[in-house]
């Protein structure tokens, strides 16, 4: 393309197909779009990320502990109604109401609504990224064109999920609203990293239970105060001990000085009385 511009020739691209206004032609068009979209989201695809959730590990344990401590009540009804999978693995029987309460409060099943929330969170993260500018050579107008991708145009429909397993794990990609390709992995990664906390909170999970497989989590910075705590406590105890030692030593010196005048009296005690018990001296 660059060569053609220098020589003064313009290469005109082949004409774009006409847009048919007939409604009957729209259905195959939708299928075409869906098929193209499906191709974009593939396991191990370009710019695709695998997400893994461990809902039960994060939330089920709290409930399981509560249940174990409440002694054996039955749970058949709520098992079937809410699709609580624990009933099969936990042999105890629980009361329907209690199990219902715990299932609702603590746990949620991964369904299409949760997927919608996930897509919303990813779209939200992408919208927070500042607008992207890309400069490209446009062969149709023979000049450089700057295209701006406004982040606010990214919507839920641009986040595609595929391959949802029972684990729960799935792959997702974010497509460009203007064109039919996926946004670069680097951008998606930085967007997710910046909003990781919000995404985790939306699902009551944390970095370990909601994993984005190729996106490392940022470790918390070390909280170092300027003076380590141990030195402060050491200083306090050191000062207390030094003061106590000083007090004892000084009081010992004072005691010795005050008992000094009595020592001269001892010299006047006759030798034959020294060492005898005090009783004898009094009698004598």
């Amino acid at each position: 393309m660059a060569k053609a511009a220098l020589s003064g020739e313009c290469i005109f691209p082949p004409g774009l197909p006409c847009v048919f206004h007939s409604e009957r032609m729209l259905w195959p068009f939708f299928f075409l779009v869906a098929a193209i979209h499906a191709e974009l989201c593939q396991p191990d695809g370009e710019n695709a990320f695998k997400v893994r959730l461990s809902i039960r590990t994060a939330l089920g344990d709290k409930a399981a502990q509560l249940l174990w401590s409440l002694q054996k009540v039955s749970c058949k009804l709520s098992d079937e109604w809410l699709n609580c999978p624990w009933g099969s693995s936990i042999k105890a029987k629980f009361s329907p109401l209690l199990c219902l309460f715990l299932c609702i409060y603590f746990r949620y099943a991964w369904d299409s609504n949760e997927e919608y929330l996930f897509k919303a969170m990813v779209a939200f993260s992408m919208r927070k990224v500042p607008n992207r500018e890309t400069t490209e050579w446009h062969s149709s107008s023979c000049k450089f064109v700057t295209e701006v991708l406004f982040s606010s145009t990214i919507g839920i429909s641009h986040v595609l999920l595929c391959n949802v397993t029972q684990r729960v794990s799935f792959w997702f990609v974010v497509t460009d609203p203007l064109k039919n390709y996926t946004l670069p992995a680097v951008e998606v990664e930085s967007a997710i990293r910046m909003n990781r906390n919000r995404i985790n909170n939306a699902f009551f999970l944390n970095d370990q239970t909601l994993e984005f497989l190729k996106i490392p989590s940022t470790l918390a910075p070390p909280t170092d105060s300027s003076v380590p705590i141990w030195i402060i406590i050491f200083g306090v105890i050191f000062c207390i001990v030094i003061v106590a030692v000083m007090l004892l030593v000084l009081s010992g010196i004072r005691q010795r000085r005050s008992s000094f005048p009595f020592q001269s009296q001892e010299h006047s005690i006759p030798k034959y009385l020294k060492g005898k018990p005090w009783k004898l001296v009094v009698n004598w």
Binding site: I55, W230, A244, Q263
Partner: protein, 558 residues
């Protein structure tokens, strides 16, 4: 002019002093280890036999000598026979070595105590590395508690030859430890007598609190069952009996001269037979009590590690095979593993090398003693408890109380002969003598705060006191029974206290105990000779574990 000898304010102070001296760190970190090695509950049999046959008679002998002679070890033995003053000097020298390295443990306990005020505890998390991309490598390879001990506390060098620099942090803690000991001994029995109320009683309070907490921990019963299940075949193992005898011997602190020193401050009419029996029984009961606490904590730690290991395997399999979250539990793990290995052998084969074999028994089998138990294993258990700062504080306070209590006895063994000797006490007041002794100890103890200090500590711990003490106590027993004469000693005793000596003590002193000590002495001597080149375990920072490092023949350290 004659100065009256200072006395204990009450016989209770004397008992507490002996108890706080005898009940020391060995009860907490050596006895549980021996119990685990030599058959759990059945180790109590040789232990109690040795207590009755060796511990009580020798303890009683030292107390009687001290109370009768009313002097420190040098003066007491010189009174028994002018040629035996050397026994006293030997006791003082061994006490000097012991005091020098024992107070370093108190310094480490202070260090951990001061660091217990942080949230989270510094040994519970690995520090982040330079570019905040991960954790420090050494910490990742070892565990956070080991990293804190070897790198942050000791800053250990790779071998004993590389002494490194003096570490100012442990040095400051050592200075503080010696100041605290000085504070307790500077007025003699007046100050020591009051301090021993705390150092004797408070550790029991903390141990009781820990007992209650330990028994309610998840997995504590595993540890207790493991420990107390008797392995009766160990009763015929001679090493069990030898170790029981050694443990009783060193746990009671015989031969250092401390007991003689303490007893010399007694009224002559004190009934030290009763005291000897009480102190030795209390010491043994405390050992058993402490080992119940230790094993419930061991059980908790082992169960915690085992469950973490199982959870890691579960996570690995769940992720590799995209199984439903929560489907795999500890109960069905084996069945699912069998199913997966048969249904998807290829994928299972890829995952297999990463899977660790988790075994509760192997976690419990890791028997640890000494500083490793106190500062690595216990801290690892504490960091997993709730409100870990409180437990950590309590634990290190207890270690400090036990350590300082023993130090009082050790320093008394050195100070009493010095204050008894007219040459020294005429020139200096007792505060100054105590100050000088503490200063010299502190200066020499700075050796243990260098980077290679822990290796020197191990050498002192293993070799400074074992053989000398056996020899000293042997000579003591033979001196009293055969040089001074048992009959003369008995009549002296009757004149002093108004009571007779039971035949049991006489038989033990004259026959059984010396034979036992000779046996122990011969065993240890032959053990040293047969071992050949001595080895020590060095910390390898690159691999982050201990590896044996042989001594080179040209170095005279070995």
């Amino acid at each position: 002019m004659e100065k009256a000898r200072p006395l204990w304010a009450s016989p209770l102070q004397f008992v507490f002093a002996c108890v706080s001296y005898a009940v020391g760190l060995g009860n907490v970190w050596r006895f549980p280890y021996l119990c685990q090695l030599y058959g759990g509950g059945s180790f109590l049999v040789p232990y109690l036999v040795m207590l009755v046959v060796e511990g009580m008679p020798l303890l009683y002998l030292e107390l009687v000598v001290g109370q009768r002679m009313r002097q420190g070890s040098i003066g007491a033995w010189r009174t028994i026979s002018p040629y035996l003053g050397g026994v006293g000097v030997a006791s003082v020298v061994v006490s000097f070595f012991l005091s020098t390295y024992y107070n370093v443990i108190n310094a480490w306990a202070f260090w951990y105590l001061f660091h217990s005020f942080q949230d989270p505890l510094p040994w519970s998390v690995c520090p982040v590395n330079g570019n905040r991309s991960g954790y420090e490598e050494e910490c990742e390879k070892a565990s956070s508690t080991q990293y804190f001990w070897y790198r942050k506390t000791l800053n250990i060098s790779p071998s004993i030859e590389e002494s490194g620099r003096l570490q100012w942090e442990p040095a400051l803690c050592l200075l503080l430890a010696w100041l605290v000991v000085y504070l307790c001994i500077l007025r003699g029995t007046e100050s020591t007598g009051k301090v021993v109320y705390f150092t004797a009683l408070l550790p029991y309070c903390v141990l009781t609190i820990y007992l209650v907490r330990g028994l309610t921990l998840h997995g504590a019963t595993n540890g207790l069952l493991y420990m107390f299940t008797p392995k009766v075949e160990q009763l015929v193992n001679p090493k069990a009996w030898i170790n029981a005898a050694t443990q009783i011997f060193f746990s009671l602190g015989l031969g250092f001269g401390s007991l003689i020193a303490f007893a010399s401050y007694n009224e002559p009419s004190t009934d030290c037979q009763k005291h000897a029996v009480i102190v030795s029984l209390l010491n043994s009961c405390t050992s058993v009590f402490a080992s119940v606490v230790t094993f419930s904590i061991y059980g908790f730690k082992a169960t915690f590690n085992y469950e973490s290991c199982v959870n890691k395997v579960i996570l690995l399999l769940t992720n590799a095979f995209d199984l439903e979250d929560g489907f795999l539990t500890a109960d069905n793990l084996e069945q699912v593993k069998a199913y997966l290995s048969s249904a998807h052998p290829g994928k299972y084969g890829e995952v297999l090398p990463q899977m660790r074999n988790c075994s509760l028994k192997s976690e419990l089998d890791t028997a640890v003693q000494g500083t490793g138990l106190a500062f690595i294993v216990y801290t690892e258990a504490i960091k997993n408890m709730e409100v870990s700062q409180l437990w950590s504080l309590l634990y290190f306070c207890m270690l400090l109380l036990l350590g300082v209590g023993s130090m009082l006895g050790n320093t008394a063994a050195i100070l009493t002969p010095l204050t008894d000797s007219a040459a020294v006490s005429r020139r200096l007041p007792k505060e100054a003598i105590a100050g000088l002794v503490c200063l010299v100890h502190c200066a020499v103890g700075l050796l243990f705060t260098m980077e290679a200090g822990n290796y020197w500590f191990d050498i002192f711990n293993d070799y400074a006191a074992t053989l000398p003490l056996l020899l000293i106590v042997l000579v003591e027993t033979l001196a009293v029974c055969y040089v001074y004469g048992l009959r003369r000693f008995e009549s002296d005793f009757k004149a002093m206290s108004g009571r007779g000596l039971s035949w049991y003590w006489k038989v033990m002193w004259a026959g059984v105990s010396p034979l036992l000590i000779v046996g122990l002495f011969v065993f240890y001597l032959s053990d040293y000779i047969l071992t050949g080149t001595l080895q020590y375990q060095a910390w390898d920072a690159t691999q982050a574990h201990k590896s044996p490092s042989g001594c080179r023949p040209e170095k005279q350290l070995c």
